[in-house]
Every structure is written in C-alpha cells, then in structure tokens.
C-alpha cells in the first residue's frame, strides 16, 4: 500500500508560529481528559503538557486511571470529554497522524504468541509504513541490539520469559523511532538487572523524545524521570519535579510522601 502517497508534501507543523519561547518543543498536551466506564469516572479532568526531552513518571495506586489516560492519548480509547494533542494533532480529529508519532507499550505487553520475535517486529514495522527492505532490516537490527533480543530472535513469543516478552514490547514501541513514547509499566515483571537495563535504555532515548511512563515503583521515578505526576482516583494530585516532590517532607523517603498523599484522598 503506498502509504501517504496522496499526502500533502510538507509536514504540518501547527506549533511553529507559537511565539512563546520553549513551546516549540511541546509534544503532548492533555487538556481536562475525562473517561467514564458506565457510572465509574476512571479519569477525572487530567491536564498536563510534556516537552521534548521530558521523561514523565506517571504514578498512582492500582486503579488510579494511569492506563486509561495513556490509552486515551494513544487514540485507543475515546475520551468522554477533553482533548489530547500530540505534536499539534488532536487525537480525536487526526488519529492516524497521532498514532504515527507514538510508540506504545501496552500494560499487557501483548503480542501474537505464535509469531517469532523477528516476524512480530517485522509486522509492526511494516504496519507502521516502513516498506523499504534495507531500512526495515536496519531498524530491526537496531532494536534487537538495543533491547538485547539477539539470543531469542527466532523463538516464538509464547515461549519467552516475561522479561523477554516485555523487551519485545519495548522493541515494538521504538521500532519507528517515535517522537513520543508511552510505556505502561515498562519494568513490570522484570528482575532488578533487567529493570536497570530498561531504565538505561529509556534514558538513552530521552533526548529527542517525549516519554511518559507509568509505574508504581517510586525509586524508578527518582532514578530516571524529570517530572512526576501523581494521580489517584482519576485526579492529578501532584505535578512537579521528583526533587520538589521529595522536598515536600524533608527527611522522609519518596515512598512516605506518596503514601501520605494517596491515603489522604482515600480517607477524605
């Protein structure tokens, strides 16, 4: 399929006219997102923006609405209200343009179990419009090295351990070198060494990307994020730097601050 054969030959850059300094780098803007599942309001008016170079740690107890928010940014879920904008494109209006710019690791790190790693990555690359054989091979080789998949590349995904499967998920998310990376619990189920590897990988990529990652490991946020958003019951409680967050209660660990914050809202 000649993808984009009829597309306007110049890339649309709706943000370039913006006179405010620094906003050229604004990659993701989320404005008052709301998502209802029936009567349950899973996400309740979440707003934030992230720039190129940012690693945003999305933090919150289970069921806080992290995954739901991420799924709305990727265009997988339609918000009940509010907007999400990626590189100037509104997810609701230009879903395809938004999806081109995002790499996404689903929480389930889902894949097709009967496919081998190479088959699966080739499929994703082709579906993302990388048609040129040489380019495809070099992208493939690149992510296989970055995610340390060389020893399992011809194995069926169903036979891989959780750690390898997770890395296949990360490889799939970065194969098209996206401007925005959305990783839902990227280190979940990995052992400490693998966690360290994945964090290093994320950090190494962060310079020219905007990255959102969700986690419930607080040290992870401290280790790699330059922004932290804490969300509980669908609402943003905190949006600041990890250092500022930790400074809320001098002497306390980041864990303790978190517990205090999220417990307060439960009791209130």
């Amino acid at each position: 399929m000649p993808r984009g054969a009829f597309a306007f030959p110049f890339p649309r850059k709706p943000n370039t006219w913006d006179p405010t300094p620094g906003t050229q780098n604004k990659m993701v803007t989320v404005d008052r997102l709301v998502k209802d599942y029936g009567t349950l309001r899973a996400v309740d008016g979440v707003s934030f923006t992230i720039n190129k170079g940012d690693i945003l740690g999305f933090l919150g107890p289970n069921g806080a609405g992290k995954s739901t928010t991420m799924k709305m940014i990727t265009g997988f879920l339609t918000p009940t209200s509010g907007t999400a904008t990626v590189d100037g494109f509104d997810v609701a209006k230009d879903p395809i343009e938004v999806k081109k710019r995002i790499g996404y690791l689903p929480e389930s790190s889902a894949a097709y179990p009967e496919m081998t790693v190479v088959e699966f990555l080739t499929y994703v690359a082709e579906a993302r419009g990388i048609a040129d054989k040489d380019e495809l091979n070099s992208r493939l080789a690149d992510v296989i090295v970055k995610c340390h998949l060389d020893s399992v590349k011809y194995r069926a995904i169903e036979n891989l351990s959780k750690g390898y499967r997770q890395r296949v998920g990360v490889a799939q998310a970065i194969i098209h070198d996206p401007q925005v990376l959305i990783l839902d619990e990227p280190t979940d189920g990995l052992d400490p060494n693998q966690k360290h590897e994945v964090r290093k990988l994320i950090q190494a990529m962060s310079a020219d990307k905007a990255i959102i990652l969700s986690t419930h490991i607080l040290e992870e946020v401290e280790a790699i994020c330059n922004r932290v958003i804490i969300i509980d019951q669908g609402k943003v409680l905190v949006d600041e730097t990890p250092a500022a967050f930790k400074a809320r209660k001098p002497g306390a660990t980041i864990d303790e601050v978190f517990r205090e914050l999220t417990n307060k809202t439960v009791l209130a």
Partner: protein
C-alpha cells in the same frame, strides 16, 4: 497489506489452520461420496455443490471465529489500534485474509472437478458458476462470523453464534421449511423467506445461473456486515 499478510500466514503458524482445512476436505469428499458421486453416472459436481452450503455453515465460522475475538482476549487489539491504520483497513484486511484461506479450502475441492473432467465431460461453465456461488456464500457467512467475533472475547461463543445465524439464514428458504410451514403460512411470506435464503441462491448458482438478484443479495449482505463490523470495532 501487512495485516493481510499477518492474518493469512497466521493460519499456518499453528496446526489449527491445517486441521480446519483437513476436516473441511474430508467432509466435502465424504458427503460427495455419500450423495452418490460415482454411482450417479452424471458428469457434474452436483454431489459436491448440493451439500456444500451445509458444510460451509460450519467451515466458515471455524475459519473466522478468531479474527477479532482472539485479539480482544489477548489484548493485542490495543496494539492493532495504536498502529497508524484505520479501522476500515483493519476490517477489510482481516476479512480478505480469511477469505483467501477459505479460497485455498475450496481449491482443494478441485480434485473432484478434475476427476469429473477425467471421467466424463462436464459443463465447465456450470462448475465455474458453482464455485463463484460457493465463494459468494463463503464471503457472506464470513462477514457474519466477523461481526460475531468482534462482539465477544470468546472464540467458541463467536463460533456457535455464527453457526446458528448461518444455519438459520440457510434454512429460512429451504423446501423443507416450506413443507413444514405448509399451508399455515401465506405464500408471500414463503417467497420472501426464499429471497433471503442462502440455499435458494446457491442452488441457482450451482446450476449455472448467475442471476443478478443472487449476486446482489450476497454482495449487499457482505458489505452490510463489514459495515457493522467497523461500527462494532470502533465501539
């Protein structure tokens, strides 16, 4: 196109695809022999085509049941719909991939056509229109199955419900039902049911009649179901 490739090859990545093809082939040959392929002394594929709709009622849902249900169950649907691909492309690509697989199944029955050509002098035009009819019936059944598959996470439920719908749609205009309803139903109703029936349309195609009403019946039904499929998938 990558989705078509992935889905089509997917049938051969596990034994399931081969098993489905083998069972289909055995059923076709078995029923053809049972209904007297050799004893009837006629050079035609009637004994293939007459029972074929009934085999397709089971074969097509078996092929199509996993199309969406499996993606929903495993969560890979999240992956699919965060790729820069429109739901329309995904629906059509999956449909065509399954149809291509069914095409392989039908090609296998050429062995019967070959034997017929070897033993006698059949009317190839009739055989050709019979295969067109089979393909059209298959597309209609497949589009019904695709909708059922999109409605559930469970392949087995998708299979059972599609078989029921296809069975019902085929039975609706059968002579058997007409006899059963007999005098109690007005002829207008029976005629209407026949209009909607797979068996009637397929029967005329397998006799060599490609008539417009049958053709448009299949095409409209298939397109309508694919449209519904898109709506279901987009929620």
């Amino acid at each position: 196109m990558p989705i078509f490739k992935k889905e089509f090859l997917g049938y051969f990545r596990s034994p399931v695809g081969y098993v489905i093809l083998a069972v289909f082939h055995i059923m076709v040959i078995g029923l053809a022999l049972y209904s007297g392929y050799y004893s009837r002394n006629e050079a035609s594929l009637n004994s293939l085509f007459r029972p074929l709709p009934w085999i397709l009622i089971v074969f097509i849902p078996a092929v199509g049941m996993r199309l969406w249900a499996e993606e929903k169950r495993s969560g890979s649907i999240e992956l699919l719909f965060t790729l820069p691909i429109s739901p329309r492309t995904a629906v059509v690509a999956k449909f065509l991939a399954a149809l291509a697989f069914i095409g392989i199944g039908l090609c296998l029955t050429f062995s019967l056509a070959m034997t017929t050509g070897y033993l006698g002098n059949p009317d190839w035009g009739v055989i050709f229109s019979g295969y067109i009819g089979a393909m059209l019936t298959a597309s209609a059944f497949l589009s019904i199955t695709a909708v059922c598959s999109a409605l559930t996470k469970n392949q087995v439920i998708a299979f059972v419900i599609s078989v029921m719908i296809c069975l019902f749609a085929t039975l609706m205009g059968s002579d058997w039902l007409a006899q059963f309803l007999g005098s109690s139903a007005p002829t207008a109703l029976l005629d209407f049911l026949r209009l909607l029936s797979f068996e009637q349309h397929f029967a005329s195609m397998s006799k060599g009649l490609i008539d417009i009403s049958a053709l448009s019946f299949y095409l409209v039904l298939t397109l309508a179901c694919l449209g519904i499929n898109m709506i279901v998938i987009e929620r």
